[in-house]
């Protein structure tokens, strides 16, 4: 059995995909993994809309491009994006990356991803943990996809604003009432057409973990 930590640490967000289809049995495993995510009081509020249709994925891709692009254009105009990417030394490369971001192209990849899975949660069954349960399901999906050699990405952009979330629901025929279903993200799944730098830089555990009390960085002896 593969060490689960290897699966977790080697996973990366994939935003470029080959056009090859994802077999049903692999997709079913991704969905099955989602079904087994932790869920408060076993409410299982998640629902999934699996999309392979190109026209629908184009609409989602366009919505994502406008959503991300509208925010990143403003952030660029305010100087925030330049600060964020100041670490890229080559000015031409930095400008190219920034254009990719503020144009919204960065979020358009639903068009190329063979499968898009909208992750939504019912708000009508009493669960008090809907966003958290859905997030746990998404993580399971990404890990299962990766464990099978597929790539995936968790995408919040096209549903980040209330108005865009409504548009997203309309594309997929999800009831749009604010008291009905919450759409938290979509997950793209497919065969990776990119090899991202591995491992991505991560903060050290020492910078993240406190012992017994917040702020206490000294690990106490025990036993």
């Amino acid at each position: 059995m593969q060490d689960i930590l290897d699966v977790i640490t080697s996973r990366k967000s994939i935003r470029r995909y080959k056009p090859d289809p994802v077999p049903d049995e692999m997709l079913d495993k991704v969905l099955e993994a989602a079904r087994w995510a932790p869920t408060g009081e076993n409410y299982q509020p998640w629902r999934f809309v699996v999309v392979r249709d190109q026209e629908t994925r184009n609409k989602i891709g366009n919505l994502a491009r406008v959503g991300s692009g509208s925010r990143m254009t403003a952030w660029y105009c305010l100087g925030h994006m330049q600060e964020r990417f100041a670490g890229i030394q080559d000015p031409e490369k930095r400008a190219k990356v920034l254009r990719f971001m503020y144009s919204g192209e960065v979020s358009e990849f639903a068009k190329q991803s063979p499968v898009v899975i909208a992750v939504i949660g019912t708000l009508m069954e009493g669960s008090v943990d809907v966003p958290y349960d859905l997030s746990a399901a998404i993580e399971n999906m990404l890990l299962m996809a990766h464990a099978q050699g597929l790539g995936g990405c968790w995408v919040h952009g096209p549903v980040a604003t209330t108005r865009d979330a409504k548009k997203f629901k309309e594309i997929l025929g999800i009831p749009t009432g604010m008291g009905q279903y919450k759409v938290i993200a979509y997950v793209s799944i497919g065969w990776a057409a990119e090899a991202r730098k591995y491992p991505r830089p991560k903060k050290n555990l020492e910078d993240l973990v406190y012992w017994e009390k917040f702020g206490q960085t000294q690990r106490p002896r025990h036993g």
């Binding site: 406008v66 959503g67 254009t73 105009c77 305010l78 108005r163």
Partner: protein, 160 residues
């Protein structure tokens, strides 16, 4: 108790918990706050200038703010608003005292909504909000995109 103080205190608590739950995403989720009023006002206009002026007239008429000035610049995607003596300044003051930068403006939401509803704008985004309780002024930068092609029309807004 002054009903406006009560309203501000309630909005403050709502926005405080929203921020706590959603952090920087909170402004994106609150863009509908205020739109019911403006949608009931039969705003008319064929241009952005006319629609925005009509919204401001209604906002002033009901006493939400004493004065609202605006200009459109930055490749036509930057709507600058300056609101003076806003009835909601107290909630911004309370938020700031609680360590949260004010992030939601119902008045801006009203104008954004009508640009979309009346002129078919593609999308809008409240990019910056600087409320100053000492001067009674609030300066807002709103990104307004008439068409998808306006996404990416970048410029330096510090010079706009």
């Amino acid at each position: 108790m002054d009903s406006n103080v009560l309203l501000n205190q309630m909005l403050y608590r709502m926005e405080e918990v929203f921020w706590h739950e959603l952090s920087d995403c909170a402004p994106w989720k609150t863009e509908y706050v205020g739109i019911d009023f403006i949608q009931s006002q039969d705003i008319k206009g064929a241009t952005e200038d006319e629609v925005i002026r009509s919204c401001i007239d209604r906002i002033k008429a009901v006493g939400l703010a004493q004065e609202v000035d605006f200009s459109i610049t930055g490749n036509d995607i930057l709507l600058k608003l300056q609101v003076r003596d806003c009835q909601l300044m107290l909630k911004e003051t309370l938020l700031r005292k609680g360590g949260i930068k004010p992030y939601s403006c119902p008045l801006a939401n009203m104008i954004r909504d009508q640009l979309i509803e009346k002129l078919g704008y593609e999308t809008t985004y409240l990019a910056d909000m600087a409320a100053d309780e000492k001067t009674g002024c609030c300066d807002l930068k709103v990104a307004i995109y008439a068409t998808p092609e306006k996404i990416g029309a970048v410029s330096d807004w510090s010079k706009a």
